[in-house]
């Protein structure tokens, strides 16, 4: 495993997002992107002509029947003739776009980089069943290997469930239905404080609500599941040199650690089916570049890719927050990861509460790390007087959940 050290620094100067929600029918994709973009510019307090590179995160062209939507987004933003690139890495698309943005900055090629993720799943529509979800799933399934796994309808839920079931067989049945439900409730509750969240305005869920919801792919219940959302999220990255020049360094949340790892997409070729090794490698690399040795002590908050609540429990061990299931279960029971706990997880609400417009998701999660660390989180703001101003992001996705990206944010 190669760990690349970072030279120089790149950080987040501003963040903005559109509303995340189901079927935002009165706005097309470039419109949503433009809302996130202008919100980010306003937050960063910079003029658009300072942007010298744009990285776009957009997962699935099948949702809209439009390949390379980024071109039309880019020109809608008035950024034609700037250098741009589009990133797609399944659920981890947003984290991958940030990773690329940081790399562009560190390379010296650009100083102010727009990282913008967007997705619009409800543009696909099934006229017979009069809903979008089945069409979204059909669009996603072509991420699976088209010879070996797409014909077996290996949806994202099936892939995650398979790994979770093996994990549970090897870890004494943990996470239990109740433990996973507790995680789902925590994330949904966190999102109720964020107006842009998919779940904003909804009723606060209880553990009983989740445990009584129907099974969709054993052991996942409907309440453990992420939202299918539309929306866009944008981040303005800036290099250390440029931040000094503009005298904005005191507003920048530095991305001090980055790590990435891609496992096999065909899971049968992996040595272990009960863990996400790419997650372990990505976060290990991110911690190493940030100089973090004890994540549980040195982190103040964490954003974890939570397509299903059980995956968060597994991540506790992958990213070094708990050493085994005994510690993970004990910390969870004690509220360690809740809003008022020592190490809150997914104050943004994550995929379960904030929503999952795929290309935008991890950017929005990182954006809420930025907001929390800089005291801009409004009603969602937590107190940092007794916790380090350091946050970590774990993004994952792709067939067999093969892609993983880890990042450390410091203020």
């Amino acid at each position: 495993m190669a760990i690349t050290g970072m030279r120089g620094k790149v950080g987040v100067l501003g963040f903005g997002m559109s509303k995340f929600g189901p079927g935002i029918y009165d706005k097309d994709l470039p419109y949503l992107a433009a809302i996130a973009y202008t919100n980010a510019l306003e937050n960063a307090k910079i003029a658009p002509d300072l942007i010298d590179f744009a990285v776009y995160g957009h997962y699935n062209p099948l949702f809209r029947g439009q390949i390379m939507s980024d071109i039309y987004v880019n020109e809608t933003l008035g950024l034609e003739l700037k250098p741009t690139i589009r990133i797609a890495a399944g659920g981890a698309t947003g984290a991958a776009a940030i990773d690329t943005g940081v790399t562009v900055g560190l390379s010296g090629r650009a100083d102010v980089i727009l990282v913008l993720g967007f997705e619009k799943g409800y543009d696909c529509w099934n006229y017979k069943s009069k809903e979008s979800v089945s069409e979204v799933l059909k669009g996603i399934i072509f991420s699976a290997d088209t010879i070996w796994e797409e014909p077996l309808e290996m949806t994202a839920a099936a892939n995650y469930a398979s790994t979770v079931n093996t994990f549970r067989a090897e870890h004494g049945g943990h996470p239990t239905d109740e433990e996973a439900s507790l995680i789902a409730v925590s994330h949904q509750t966190n999102s109720l404080l964020i107006e842009e969240a998919h779940c904003y305005g909804q009723k606060e869920l209880t553990v009983d609500d989740v445990m009584n919801s129907p099974i969709i792919a054993e052991p996942f219940r409907r309440g453990h599941n992420c939202q299918i959302s539309e929306g866009a999220a944008a981040m303005i990255l800036i290099t250390e040199k440029k931040a000094k020049e503009l005298k904005v360094s005191d507003r920048v949340v530095w991305i001090t650690g980055v790590g990435a790892s891609t496992d096999t997409g065909l899971v049968g070729w992996r040595p272990s089916l009960s863990r996400y090794q790419s997650g372990e490698y990505a976060l290990e690399a991110a911690y190493k570049s940030a100089g973090i040795r004890d994540p549980q002590k040195e982190l103040g908050l964490v954003e974890i890719h939570d397509p299903f609540a059980h995956v968060v429990y597994m991540a506790l061990m992958e990213i070094g927050i708990a050493k085994d299931e005994d510690e993970a279960s004990a910390l969870l029971k004690d509220g360690y990861f809740f809003r008022d706990g020592r190490l809150p997880i997914n104050l943004s609400g994550g995929l379960i509460g904030l929503g999952h417009p795929v290309g935008a998701t991890n950017i929005a999660q990182a954006g809420w790390l930025f907001k929390q660390l800089t005291g801009q989180a409004g009603k969602s703001q937590v107190d940092f007087s007794n916790r380090p101003k350091v946050g970590a992001l774990k993004g994952m996705g792709g067939p067999g959940d093969c892609y993983c990206y880890g990042q450390v944010y410091e203020f």
């Binding site: 014909p151 949806t155 792919a217």
Partner: protein
């Protein structure tokens, strides 16, 4: 085939015959059905809905789109693996002539441990026979789903390691009365009837032993 009917109907409108702005008589709908060879049952709800969308401006307008047509993908080096199952009901495994690594199925064209050392060694085919046994390494019960060959309802896509293979594959495991699909469960292969085989991964499955 409502989507197809909608597409044709929209084309009809694009030809300049603005039927969208007026209520169609029953006779006009029947004539549309005949002219465009669209089953009446498909066309009727389409016409009604399209009319609604035009009249109710608060509702978002959706128009059909179509990407490509039926296309065919080459199975490449896997042609033999799938053809042997489809035509002869025989399973083959990939075996590396250099290091002996075994792969059922030989999803990668070249030996995985060898290419990690920079050595290009295509798997050779070794006959396993008409039936293979294996072990469930990971399981999932997918409630929504079903497949084109095994019907609708709950399905169990599982990771199964076939005996003698160093890697595993995802494949359906069929449930059995009184037995539980779990990690470590023993399974054996089952083929779908020959006349239904298409040369794809869905030509076979596993059943609990």
């Amino acid at each position: 085939m409502i989507a197809t009917a909608t597409a044709k109907y929209t084309n009809f409108r694009l030809k300049g015959i603005d039927t969208m702005q007026q209520k169609l008589s029953a006779q006009a709908v029947i004539e549309l059905s005949r002219k465009h060879e669209i089953p009446l049952g498909d066309l009727l709800p389409t016409v009604e809905r399209e009319m609604t969308e035009v009249i109710d401006t608060r509702e978002i307008l959706r128009v059909p789109f179509r990407i490509g047509t039926v296309m065919y993908r080459s199975m490449g080096h896997l042609s033999r693996f799938f053809r042997e199952i489809r035509d002869n009901g025989i399973f083959f495994m990939g075996k590396c002539p250099v290091c002996g690594h075994s792969a059922f199925p030989p999803q990668h064209a070249v030996c995985h441990p060898c290419i990690k050392k920079g050595v290009l060694s295509p798997y050779e085919y070794v006959e396993l026979g008409p039936k293979v046994g294996g072990t469930v390494l990971s399981w999932c019960r997918l409630v929504r789903g079903g497949s084109k060959h095994f019907g609708k309802g709950a399905v169990y896509p599982c990771v199964v390691r076939v005996d003698g293979s160093d890697i595993a594959l995802i494949q359906f495991v069929m449930p059995k009365e009184g037995a539980q699909i779990r990690v470590g469960a023993r399974v054996e292969s089952v083929l779908i009837p020959q006349e239904k085989r298409t040369g794809e991964v869905t030509d076979f499955a596993f059943v609990l032993v």
